[in-house]
């Protein structure tokens, strides 16, 4: 699939889940060893076309996620390139033990894709939201964790994850009409952050579709003469340590923003890294404050948890003025 303006716009319109499906269908054209294992979510993953075009390469196990991981591990052991996918909570917390044993301990290589992570399905209630996946998977060795910023990055992340030396978990955030953060083709490398906006007073380090709100917030802060950097830290494990340490050196305030619990996710990972540095700078962690809220739309929940553009601005200003 050519990465041009029209396709970037298409992928944004259809949203990152459907873009994932499109991307995988495209990859299967030249990769006969690509197998997708899923749990009755082919339509939600944009895999309908994949299912019809490559029926032998889609293994649907029904609503049985623990089985999905074990079966995927067995297939991967025979040197197939395996992707598993279902909704983020079922892809991760539901089958966590299987992930630990098969991917972490036995090091079977699988690319796991968690659909609709974060808060996007908030109107369905918290059983269909996921604010724990990064925190839990970070504790399992041998698994990289990626949170793509937009639909194009989702497709690129999957492509790179399939080539990577170990298993990856890719958490997809955002929905249809997903804001475009990458307007042209670019080089995506697992573990290498991307600076979306330069600045020297405040550094916002974020990942996933919430980067859109971060960029908007940064623009507003600039108007108040607060020079604000925005970094796309798409890979949470392994963190781009060099970039964070350089931020620690040069910036006055670090701000982490994530569609995830502030316990265990990107903010915590950054805090872990900088805690042993002799250089001391404050880190403001923005995200879900360890509470399950009532259900609501994506925008409602982002606002509730201080992740809307205005709330991000307010939180940063409040911290700076305290």
């Amino acid at each position: 699939m050519e990465i041009n303006d029209r396709n970037i716009k298409l992928m944004s319109t259809i949203g990152p889940r459907a873009a994932f499906g499109l991307g995988v269908t495209d990859l299967a054209k030249t990769n006969k060893e690509l197998i997708v294992v899923t749990c009755d979510v082919s339509t939600s993953a944009g895999l309908d076309r994949f299912r019809k075009t490559y029926p032998d390469q889609l293994i649907d196990l029904g609503i049985a996620e623990q089985n999905m991981i074990g079966v995927a591990a067995g297939i991967s052991r025979e040197n197939f390139n395996v992707i598993t996918t279902t909704f983020a909570p079922f892809q991760t917390t539901r089958c966590c033990e299987q992930i630990k044993v098969n991917l972490g301990y036995m090091k079977e290589k699988i690319t796991m894709v968690g659909l609709a992570s974060g808060l996007v399905l908030g109107n369905l209630g918290f059983t269909h939201c996921c604010i724990e996946d990064v925190g839990i998977l970070r504790s399992i060795p041998n698994i990289s964790i990626i949170s793509p910023s937009d639909s194009l990055e989702t497709v690129k992340a999957v492509e790179q994850a399939l080539k990577y030396h170990q298993s990856c978990y890719i958490r997809i955030t955002g929905g249809s009409n997903n804001p475009i953060l990458n307007h042209t083709d670019y080089s995506f490398e697992i573990g290498k952050s991307i600076t979306l906006k330069k600045g020297k007073d405040v550094s916002i380090i974020s990942c996933g579709s919430i980067l859109n709100e971060c960029l908007e917030a940064a623009e507003e802060l600039e108007k108040k003469n607060i020079s604000t950097e925005v970094v796309n830290m798409h890979t949470i494990k392994p963190l781009d340590e060099n970039k964070i340490l350089s931020i620690l050196e040069n910036s006055k305030l670090l701000v982490s923003v994530e569609e995830h619990n502030i316990i265990g996710g990107l903010g915590t990972a950054i805090a872990e890294l900088i805690s042993s540095s002799k250089q001391k700078k404050p880190l403001l962690r923005l995200g879900v404050n360890d509470k399950y809220s009532k259900s609501g739309s994506y925008n409602y929940l982002k606002n509730f948890y201080g992740l809307s553009t205005n709330k991000i601005i307010d939180n940063i200003l409040k911290f700076l003025n305290d």
């Binding site: 293994i59 049985a64 079966v71 067995g74 297939i75 033990e97 299987q98």
Partner: protein, 277 residues
């Protein structure tokens, strides 16, 4: 002696040797204890598989990819597994002595080590069958004519993940998947009936679409014939092997204290006398 009788006699010898090795390893484990009872109940199954049925290959063999696969899903029964691997030349006598010692490759549950012929890490119950399903699917995709053998514990069938895998295998016509349940009627803290009654396992698996059979899990003849008669008929295979936990020694047979217990020198000496007489 007929050919069949000759084979069964060899298997009896092999089974006896496995039991002696299990005894030795249990003594080596010392105060760490070992899962003695659950290893003894699968000795005959393991004998037939490792010394008769399975196509075993060392890692440097150019037909290694075509080997049969073995998954000890009830990983705590590894004493029998390690003993068989030792007798077939995958694990050395020296390595066997390191069982459950610091930095050993032979832990209380199998840890993946392809050089030692240990294909998978097991121990967290309920996972081996899914792995088996995946391997069987992969073999079908690759058109490799091998077999995948999985041993499950009966207590292990409490785990929901077993039934997820059980539902899925018939969907893919996995006649290359052969699963054996070690029906010794006990689990960690009591009998299956006391903890969680499994009911009629044979009927349950049949209703899921498996080809099922039940036999005496200590009859080498019955087990050998069963594996000889397996057919490629689009159905995954389930063997319910009725066994005795702790089989082979008078002190351990049907004694659930020996699920996980310490082997003392005294018991070891008596047990050795018993088996060698």
């Amino acid at each position: 002696m007929t050919q069949n009788e000759k084979i069964v006699t060899e298997l009896e010898e092999f089974s006896k040797k496995i039991r002696i090795k299990i005894l030795e390893m249990a003594l080596t484990a010392g105060s760490s204890s070992s899962h003695f009872g659950g290893a003894l109940s699968i000795v005959e199954i393991v004998s037939v598989l490792f010394n008769y049925k399975m196509n075993l290959k060392k890692k440097d063999d150019n037909q290694w990819q075509h080997r049969d696969r073995f998954i000890l899903s009830k990983g705590h029964a590894c004493l029998a597994y390690y003993a068989a691997l030792n007798l077939k030349g995958f694990i050395s006598d020296q390595q066997l002595k390191s069982f459950e010692k610091d930095d050993s490759d032979l832990a209380g549950h199998p840890v993946k080590n392809l050089d030692l012929g240990i294909d998978f890490s097991n121990g967290s119950l309920g996972m081996g069958l899914s792995l088996g399903v995946g391997l069987s699917i992969a073999s079908k995709l690759r058109k490799i004519k091998n077999k995948i053998y999985v041993i499950l514990g009966d207590g292990e069938c409490n785990e929901g993940s077993i039934w997820e895998a059980a539902l899925s295998a018939p969907k893919f016509n996995l006649d290359n998947l052969s699963v054996i349940i070690d029906r010794n009627n006990f689990q960690q803290t009591g009998s299956n009936k006391q903890i969680l009654d499994l009911g009629n396992l044979n009927e349950k698996w049949k209703s899921f679409g498996w080809e099922t059979q039940e036999l005496n899990g200590h009859s080498l003849n019955e087990i050998k014939n069963y594996f000889d008669e397996q057919k490629d008929n689009h159905k995954p295979k389930m063997l319910i092997a009725n066994t005795i936990k702790g089989k082979g020694f008078s002190f351990s047979e049907n004694n659930n204290d020996w699920h996980h217990s310490i082997m003392t020198n005294k018991i070891y000496e008596e047990a050795l006398k018993e088996i060698e007489s």
